[in-house]
Amino acid sequence: MPGLRIEGLCISIGDRDVVRAVDLHVAPGACAGLAGGSGSGKSLTALASLGLLPRPARVRAGRILLDGGETVAPDRDRTARVRGSGIAMIFQSPRAALNPVLRVGHQVERVLRRKGRRGDLRQRCVELLGTVGLLEPDQAARLYPHELSGGMCQRVLIAMGIASEPRILIADEPTTALDVTVQADILDLLDDLRARTGMGMLLISHDMSVVAERCESISVMRQGAIVEAGTTRAVIDSPRHPFTAELVRDLTHPPGTGHEAGG
């Protein structure tokens, strides 16, 4: 089965299961959404797919498969290969995810080098920065993170994420720290990259409106378990679980109409 498949994933901390029997599928070229509140286990699920679970959390049961092969194996080299070329991830706080004392071009080149790219890394880096929509990418490469806006930092991280041409990109709250206009631009960019490269994307957000706009399918997570999953239309139009109903309330009518006059 191509794409990313998570089957019966249980993550425990001590003897408590914090993620319970999670099933997810991201097909190549598709965008799957994972929605839920903070502490619902969304990020732990994502981190587990990359073998990046913070101690003392551990995968207690279940399997995570990438194109049919297990992603996280006991052997560390294999896990490292999966990260990047198999699955890449971008995070919520772009500025915090970049090294503040290195020029951004240098950081993109480091990713390329680690993935075994040879030849003119600078040229490839500038190409990538152009691909993610930075103006004058050759100049942008010479800047430090603090000289870039949050949206630009996120573009640099996306460039690093796609540098090794991953088959799956996990975007964990990629726009939560950004302005609404910048958010739309970044989500457009991710849509674009997906259409161009055929990579699958798992979009994680607490904001149901973002997930509902961009994803073909939605899984709703709450207290470590998936409480509802289906196509976006089905989940939005006829939510089965009360928690989902709460999340999608107000989404179907445009903003500015929810206000009663005088209130």
Partner: protein, 313 residues
Amino acid sequence: MKPLIEVRGLRKDYRRGGDVLHAVDGVDLALMPGESVGVIGESGSGKSTLARCITRLERPTSGVVFFRGTDVTGLSDRDLRWFRRQVQPVFQDPLTALNPRWTVGRLIAEPLKIHGERGAERRVGEVLRDVGLASELMTRRPRDLSGGERQRVAIARAIVLRPSVLVLDEPTASVDMTVRRALLALLKRLQSEHDLAYLYISHDLRTVGETCSRTIVMCRGRLAEQGPTAAVLNSPRHVYTQILVSAIPRVGGATPRGGRLRARPLPWQGTSPDSGCVFAGRCPRALPECAADPPVVEVTPGHRAACVLAGRR
């Protein structure tokens, strides 16, 4: 009815090296008793500076802020005491706004102590109930609370002196959607129970749409558009507002892909033009006449936009 707060020609400049940044650049607004006015715009548009000038956390460079008809712009800190009781700020991130070493009880009692109120203990208990927090939380410290509870403590601190205005700067930006809804419901209830006026600053247009009867749109320190919220969000007339509105996520990608109205990106160092429309440099529909200061077009009564295209359709 007279406005509680009236702002005329407000300006705040920040100097860095030889450059002057006009963070707020000639803003007029009025806030009526019990009313909610939303302030929207991208980050860097001057929303927070406007809030800080109105709450007198910053002294404006020029312009006047009236509270119930009294000019509070030039008042000293001591003379501002009565004003501070009436106009209270609530900030985005309660974790940095609340002293981490203090208990909830002490945090909420502090304003009472500063203003020499008696019976603090009873009032703290009352306010705690009012914002929907259990009295057991009284002895906790901010880090032991959830994000939603922390923001409730910040709101409790703001209302404990029974003010008439809250200036809320992105009050729900640091919490997730379900908590946001609960906080908005709380703010709505407090508003009707205590007849509070809100100046509600947010980049989340959906929240503003649900909360505010009037909305002001800021762009690089200026007022781009203002009017009844439904008019501003449903038929925006300034190109900048149209771009903001088209960026709101819609179920199933209602905006055709690639068809969304977008601002032109600016090169690294954007300089502010001395005259003309401040948005012209990024405007996808800019015309030669945008080099002159834009006319303020009144589209319908109270709905005004500072854009040459506002009168055309």
